[in-house]
Symmetry: C2
Subunit: 332 residues, 2 copies
């Protein structure tokens, strides 16, 4: 198995990407990697392993930043890791692609250079989110801010396949993020999406009220990309605010301060449970191949886990599983 | 000043409502109350104070539950506290109305029986949300799930008036809940609402990404009611999940357990900072009067604070302040 690694994008590039990639090589004996980016920098980081037959370095003369138009960049920057990686994947020179670069560019590159699975209107970004007990897949998370009801059904098909194939969940529970539990609750979009999901071949568990999104009511939470992005980012914000308040109050009196010191192991466990770095990245689902968008702030460990996630997507042939699910919708 | 109190709705009715009302009477010397609901039950709770000239009891033979259609209930249940209260407010027999009953019925009762302020298309529910430093107003929060851009501008006008008049914020910062900071980010609705807000007479601080919603970037956060409801309920859910995980981990080893006991005062302060009961209820803004929807699970203290909130709305003449803001939009 061969995975294309974008070593250009992300806050800690290329170090976290290259070192994460080397760690992944140690973990997966069947893995081969194409490390794409600035060749001299990558070579310096790879060090002694440069002669490994499992590593190929692809020099790129252009790179895509977060601050430029993804549409223009994908069209013009043909010698960037994102464009070259997507084309390599389409040509089947590699089996998967991992990037912590511009989300918009990965998304558009996937749609325009790699292509969509037949029957999928809109590929979606779908991060796994920790809820303390396990993880749920939130789909879509920003790729499609204005959705039609049938997109949400397709998101369910993609999320179902992912949780089954990659996470080994037997009969993934599909929930629709909504403002009430009853079928008739919601906005125009969710009201129309509900019967589509209800009549689908999937294990639809109904509307999931926002207060229960992190309460392990579903393995896949379906929503439009605007709402999904709000949920994803707001979760981060609330957790930060809450932990900030707790920290401040713990330091405000001596007894609490000592207590907090004693409880440090517990707080470390909480941190680990809620840590996105354990999870890896967000799969880009609905494109014709295994693509993972890692967090821009990924460190070595997070990036290694994103590659591991891509390995599992390739092993399970996620694109085929999604195509099968789309077929099963048509047969209902 | 005379406030109509619905003693029928809510998980702890009528006890929390009546005792909360009596506590409010002690706190506000100028306050008079109409306590509406089942007369014998209210009388029993009022006890010795029954002869006070500041208390009037209005018996209601009907009540509206959370489980019935608000539209039908408002039309048919003419002898319910919500319908009678809204009519009393319209007739200026009272100056304000407080209820912890059905949100839909309070909303529809306000729109249909009390009426809207001129220039307001859609009244909105706008809870104050603690962020650790202070509070921000989230508008709308569920009254209007599908919005037009101009509704969001009207929400800004209402929220601005509320924070100025009731909370004493000098030049309230208005933010638009969005998925990116740049003006061109967002879905169709927020993209169109942005220039309206930008060109308004209000102190528009731009888009507020969801991760910064609780970071004190704005005093008023504007969004459609679907997104607002998701934010409101998700905040509750995340806080609960996170505190649950922390609690579980604190009890998982002996040292942490002792530490947690020592840090108890700090955790109590955190709880108080994040407690909606301190805040009161959500004002229903845009209707021709001062209306507060208290949380269904309000206890005595929360309900007392909701009445206090209504007192401040009456004192500041919130409906007039909103009308002035709507006028100022037209003059731009």
């Amino acid at each position: 198995m061969r995975i294309y690694v974008d070593c250009q994008g992300g806050d800690n590039a290329p170090k976290a990407q290259v070192l994460g990639a080397l760690a992944a090589l140690d973990e997966y004996p069947d893995l081969e990697l194409v490390l794409a980016g600035d060749e001299p920098s990558i070579k310096a980081l790879v060090g002694d392993k440069i002669n490994s037959s499992r590593i190929q370095i692809e020099h790129c003369t252009e790179s895509i930043s977060n601050h430029e138009s993804p549409a223009l960049a994908i069209r013009q920057k043909k010698d960037s890791a994102i464009v070259k990686g997507m084309l390599s994947l389409r040509e089947k020179n590699v089996d998967g692609f991992v990037s912590s670069g511009s989300t918009g560019a990965v998304l558009l590159g996937g749609m325009l250079r790699l292509g969509r699975i037949q029957g999928i209107d809109r590929p979606a970004l779908a991060p796994l989110i920790p809820n303390g007990k396990g993880q749920f897949l939130l789909i879509d998370c920003g790729a499609n801010v204005d959705c039609k009801p049938e997109y949400l059904l397709q998101f369910a098909a993609m999320g179902e396949a992912y949780m089954k194939i990659v996470k080994g969940v037997k009969n993934p529970r599909i929930g629709l993020a909504n403002i009430g539990e009853e079928a008739e609750k919601g906005n125009a979009l969710t009201k129309e999406a509900y019967p589509l999901l209800k009549n689908s071949p999937f294990n639809f568990v109904g509307n999931v009220e926002a207060r229960y999104i992190t309460a392990d009511k579903a393995d896949v939470i379906v929503c439009d990309g605007f709402v999904g992005n709000i949920i994803l980012k707001f979760m981060e914000g609330v957790a930060k605010t809450l932990l900030g308040i707790i920290k401040k109050e713990l330091l405000a009196d001596t007894l609490s301060k000592i207590g907090a010191l004693m409880a440090k192991p517990a707080f470390s466990r909480v941190k680990k449970l809620m840590d996105y770095k354990e999870v890896g990245g967000a799969p880009l689902l609905g494109v014709s191949g295994s693509v993972v968008k890692a967090h821009g702030s990924s460190d070595e460990r997070a990036f290694k886990n994103a590659i591991g996630q891509c390995v599992n997507m390739v092993k399970g042939d996620i694109a085929q599983a999604i195509a099968d699910n789309i077929q099963s919708i048509k047969e209902v």
